[in-house]
Amino acid sequence: MCTKFEKITDVKKLKVMANMIRQDVVKMLTEAKSGHSAGSLGLADIFTALYFNVLNHDPKNPEWEERDRFLLSNGHVCPVLYAALAEAGYFQKEELMHLRKIGTRMQGHPHRGTLPGIENSSGPLGQGLSQAVGMAIVSKREKKDWRVYCVVSDGEHGEGQIWEAVMLANKYRLGNLTVIMDRNNIQIDGFTEEILPLEPLEEKYRAFGWNVIHADGHDIMKLINACEESKKSEKPTMIIAHTVPGKGIPFMELLVEWHGKSPSKEQAAEALGYLEKDRERIENEGK
């Protein structure tokens, strides 16, 4: 029997959680000496909203059949996923320090079957959304209550497979599918609008038959509300979450060079200093 995960509704607690996840991410990446910093940090608020409020799940019973499914399509930001899973109680936090190390469960890109809570293996871009669509079709046809959530990146939209999945979700009117796009405007080689222009994204998704919601990707309550609103739609929903890559670490924010890089020990100390101050500020809010 499922002991459903208790959702956090208090804003301050959610913000502290996002801060903890950011600290985990910095520590993991520093220890691993490689990995993707900017996207992982930019997604911390979104993952906090999902794993600590939006999703119906049970960290003590990851295979619970009625759980909402969460799929990460752009697997390279997995440090934030692993940190959220650990904070939620899927496994011990100490294990996070094994990231990218041989003989451990912390694979450099997520592997379904190795680590509890991972619904899909990912890495090569564009593949997660198709699997999310497949799951949403099953849930809808079998009249289940569970929903499907998927995080995709903006740069990933260069893959044709994304648009194949987008069209099929429209065909089957998958109102039980909520996708969150990490709209951080960067990819490895530079800015998305210079590499392969994606705009106008909202009009594109609307033309493809989707419900579109814009959200500040760092406002946890707005993200939660957007997910809540998406449940009312009969169409699949795309939440375009506007994020700042590297969010929370001033010397990383908005810089393309931090897409695929991890911090040095010195940089990590500085980053953790910023985050600690930020945590104190959050805890003193309203006092």
């Binding site: 379904r112 899909n120 293996s121 198709s130 497949g134 079709i137 849930s139 194949e164 069209m167």
Partner: protein, 333 residues
């Protein structure tokens, strides 16, 4: 006259081996298998990419529309959606022409299906040269090579409609990824319901002492006919149905190499990376107990033409196979 002197009792081939009563496209075996499986198990799903009639998924779609998904001309999504459905505890069959699936969606098959290790069974139809008039772009001759390189994947090339059916039923039981290739062209249905089928275990249809022909798919029946031609030349050729390319029946390969000193592999596939290569991998690592001649399409794109003309040109009909085997036997001595 019966062509299978030795193993006919255990192999249960049709009575008049060279006068088959029925001729059918092997893809029909797939259509029948999925309807049967769908009836037995409500967790069986079928997906297609705009080729439901030609790959015979429409039979399933009519009976079980709630477990059928038409994804359109989108093979990458086909593999991905299937992986998602399979991750919900379903056994999923995906069906398209071999050149498109797995030809076009290899990465999705690799990561979404094989790395996830979910039970998605790929049906690659219209494979090999026998797709004929459509020409080189549509002749899947590399599919075995790209599929057998993948971890968690089983690769099967059945010899006729009857065996195709058994192969899909057996693959469904494994709850693992599998790739099964079929042909568009009609071919003799020469095995029967009683003919054994076990994944990873060859069927020996004819004994022989001079050479063992290891064939798969459409080439098995052609090889049986070739063995008859060779008999007239004084060559005693065994015919082995090597339907499972991965995992290869290592024991059979070694046994026949030792027994005859020569294996000729025959497949409707490029000579690089296919069944012949899989046999070579076994022989080379077993101190080469016998010689091997790999026969197939020799590193070239083919062309349009009817099946008979194409098989003749590329020496993949009974006469051509007999010629190649005869030469190999000559060189062996």
């Amino acid at each position: 006259m019966r062509g299978n002197e030795v193993n006919d009792m255990t192999m249960h081939l049709i009575h008049d081996l060279f006068v088959p009563k029925a001729s059918a496209p092997s893809r029909d075996g797939f259509g029948k298998a999925i309807v049967e499986l769908g009836e037995r198990d409500a967790n069986v799903w079928v997906l297609t990419a705009d080729v439901s009639e030609s790959t015979r998924t429409h039979w399933f779609a009519e009976k079980y529309p709630d477990r059928f998904v038409q994804v359109g001309v989108a093979e990458q999504n086909l593999a991905g959606v299937a992986a998602g459905i399979a991750a919900c505890g379903k056994t999923v069959f995906i069906s398209a022409y071999g050149v498109f699936s797995p030809g076009r969606n290899w990465d999705q098959v690799r990561v979404s299906i094989c790395y996830n290790d979910v039970p998605v069974i790929l049906h690659g139809s219209h494979t090999g040269l026998t797709v004929g008039p459509d020409g080189a772009s549509h002749q899947a001759l590399e599919d075995i090579a790209i599929m057998r390189a993948l971890p968690n994947m089983t690769v099967i090339s059945p010899c006729d409609q009857e065996q195709v059916k058994k192969a899909f039923v057996a693959a469904a039981k494994m709850k693992k990824p599998a790739y099964i290739r079929t042909s568009r062209e009609k071919s003799a249905v020469f095995t029967t319901e009683q003919t054994p089928f076990e994944i990873g275990k060859v069927n020996v249809y004819k004994d022989g002492k001079d050479v063992a022909i290891f064939a798969c798919g459409f080439m098995v029946y052609e090889s049986l006919k070739a063995a008859e031609l060779l008999k007239k030349e004084g060559i005693d050729a065994a015919v082995v149905d090597c339907h499972t390319i991965k995992p290869m029946d290592r024991h059979a390969v070694i046994e026949w190499a030792k027994k005859t000193g020569l294996i000729v592999s025959v497949e409707e596939h490029q000579v690089h990376g296919g069944m012949g290569s899989a046999i070579a991998e076994v022989l080379a690592q077993e101190n080469c107990p016998g010689r091997l001649r790999i026969h197939g399409v020799n590193d070239t794109f083919c062309e349009s033409g009817n099946t008979a003309d194409l098989l003749k040109k590329y020496k993949l009909d009974a006469t051509g196979i007999a010629e190649v085997v005869k030469e190999a036997v000559k060189n062996k001595r």
